[in-house]
């Protein structure tokens, strides 16, 4: 990309599409805003204890919302998993599960929803996550008097609490708690089973730049639960950018590549770097299904895929 392209709207649009195509629907590379969240939590904790992961919400929220607009794939999945899928009136372009969402109208992309389309659905609750690109959506909804709630799903703990918080929002608190408990149990089982294993592993989000899951991220947490040892666990960045030299120095035994561009799924990117131990031994695994890193109700399945990738890489999709 030329320097100039960064100041031209069209070039920018294309690069944004690219970025979104790579990271959409799964974990957003970004920093946890733990400090801020704790502040907001303590501020709003006066009368009714607001969940820690509920980062922004309108003052008035309906007890039993009937027309819900979801602004994120993992929220959509959670709503359906809690049994309120029939109350979802619109989703984003990136919402791809469960199959029922195919027939639901779209309000635009995950990070850049169309405001008028949201309003036209006459929602009594708009639910999103905080890590999108456009922070002003909450302000716009506030201005138009539409009830909204934005949740944080940066970590495993966030995600479990998100299930409960969404349950509370839609009047299905029990279902939310049950879902959280079930996933937590699944996590615990996997953790127990692989507590002795520590396979040096690198979890990669994309190639250009080469971004990996650093300490404290959702990807890192799943990796360590599944018996992997994150080779960039001592990085001072949550999403460290590596160059090939760094990867060669780290020599992970497994490389789990979650980037979603089809030409990369062929494995061509890694095949050219034959100096990597993981490439020589067939330890490179492509996990392009968004379920792998999506902080939603199917994350137990995502974790299982990571377990398989780490522990029987040879038999896998190479």
């Amino acid at each position: 990309m030329t320097l100039d392209a960064h100041l031209k709207p069209t070039g920018l649009f294309l690069s944004i599409l690219l970025v979104l195509a790579c990271v959409s629907g799964c974990e957003r590379p970004g920093e946890s805003t733990g400090d801020n969240a704790d502040e907001t939590a303590s501020e709003t904790a006066d009368d009714k204890k607001a969940p820690r992961v509920l980062e922004a919400a309108s003052d008035e929220l309906p007890d039993e919302p009937k027309r819900i607009v979801s602004l994120a794939p993992n929220i959509t999945e959670t709503l359906f998993a809690l049994g309120v899928g029939d109350r979802v009136v619109a989703v984003t372009n990136f919402c791809d599960y469960p199959p029922e969402v195919e027939s639901l109208p779209s309000i635009g992309s995950f990070s850049n929803p169309d405001f008028e389309t949201i309003l036209a659905k006459k929602p009594d609750l708009v639910v999103g996550i905080t890590s999108g690109g456009d922070k002003s959506v909450a302000d716009k909804l506030e201005g138009a008097g539409v009830p909204y709630a934005f949740l944080r799903t940066y970590t495993v703990q966030d995600t479990l609490e998100m299930f409960e918080a969404v349950g509370d929002l839609v009047g299905r608190s029990d279902a939310g708690r049950r879902l959280a408990a079930r996933i937590e149990q699944d996590f615990e089982d996997v953790r127990q089973k692989y507590s002795d294993a520590s396979v040096p592993t690198l979890l990669v989000y994309g190639h250009d730049p080469l971004v990996a899951a650093g300490p404290g991220t959702f990807g890192h947490q799943l990796l360590e639960m599944a018996g992997g040892k994150n080779v960039v666990a001592d990085s001072d960045k949550k999403f460290p950018r590596l160059d090939l030299e760094k990867v060669l120095a780290l020599q992970p035994e497994r490389i789990i590549d979650t980037s979603m561009r089809p030409e990369q799924a062929e494995g061509s990117y890694w095949d050219q770097h034959t100096g990597l131990k993981a490439v020589q031994s067939g330890g490179v695994v492509h996990l392009t299904d968004p379920v792998v890193l999506r902080p939603g109700p199917r994350i137990d399945e995502g974790l299982r895929r990571i377990v398989d990738a780490i522990h029987d890489a040879e038999g896998d999709s190479r």
């Binding site: 320097l3 100039d4 960064h6 100041l7 031209k8 709207p9 069209t10 920018l12 649009f13 690069s15 944004i16 970025v19 990271v23 957003r28 590379p29 970004g30 920093e31 372009n93 779209s106 635009g108 992309s109 990070s111 850049n112 929803p113 169309d114 405001f115 008028e116 389309t117 309003l119 036209a120 006459k122 890590s131 690109g133 456009d134 922070k135 002003s136 302000d139 716009k140 201005g143 138009a144 008097g145 539409v146 730049p209 971004v211 960045k237 949550k238 999403f239 950018r241």
Partner: protein
Amino acid sequence: MTTRRDRALTSRGLWQAVLAVSLLYVAVSVMALTYGSSDFGGWQVVSGLVSGELTPSQHAIVWHARMPRILFAGIVGAALAVGGAVFQAVLRNPLADPYILGISGGAALGGTLLLALEAAVFGGAMTYLGQLSPPIAAFIGAMGTLSIIFGVARWTPAGRTGNYVLLLTGVIVNAFASAVILFLKSVVSARKAQEMLFYLMGTLTVEGLSFQLIASVGGVVLACLAAIIWYARDLNVLSLGDDEAAALGVDVERTRWWTVAIASLAVACAVAFTGLIGFVGLVVPHGLRLVVGPDHRVLIPCCALGGAAFLTGADLLTRASFAVFSTTLPVGVVTAFVGAPLFVVFLWRNLRQDAEGVR
């Protein structure tokens, strides 16, 4: 056949042209209010507005989704088109657009710096200013680069080549700013980088802005336009050339300074809120010059109204195209799609008129 630009501008001609473009702007605005990305449209909107019988969601669509965008598209379109007309006259360069003197780079750099350093450096100010901080940072950035450019131009022993110094410094500052932005994007976290991309992309998704704020920005831009119209006669002379203008008694340096500064102020106000929207400042002045002639007394007001109409129309297309792509396009895509072919047509018409004039 005599073309428009051969005739001298009469008072009647001026008012006719301004009235025609005004009508166009009003028509486009009404269209923009009655159509959007949802089904709610057409006479339903008009009758609902007249009778006051709108459901809450219809009310929200008209007043919170469409109205802010329409007003802001008008303001930004006017600022960009007039900025383009002024820069083309002052720099005597038909390719000059409102961003050529580094406003784009400066605004982008200001906003990006803020996003990159926010908590660490601007923490206190940001909590105080809230959602307004990126536009303010962008505005400061734009004004900062502009003062650098004028500083360089002033201290260069350039004499009569003054406008080349402005132009070259502007291009250099823009290039430098994009390098700094690239640097910042590389060193900050991925999420911050994504925020920056969104910030830099020109969009009119300004629905959250309050009407007071829109009115204030509109007021500043309007005042700038009035000031530019005040300079219209000097701009006419200036576009002949520095020597000719000086011979005719125009203080070239002063006029150049003031017109560029005022136009830049208007453009910086607009860009601070919407990011960079291309083609408006290029295609509207060129198109209108063909229709109303090159006299800035008529060209400037027509550019303001025509630019407003052009961007409002482009935004209408952007919103209406949601039904096709079920995703929101940046308005810059539409202005380029419409603007680029138009520009070629204008160029061709212009050359043909020149050829006929020679014969």
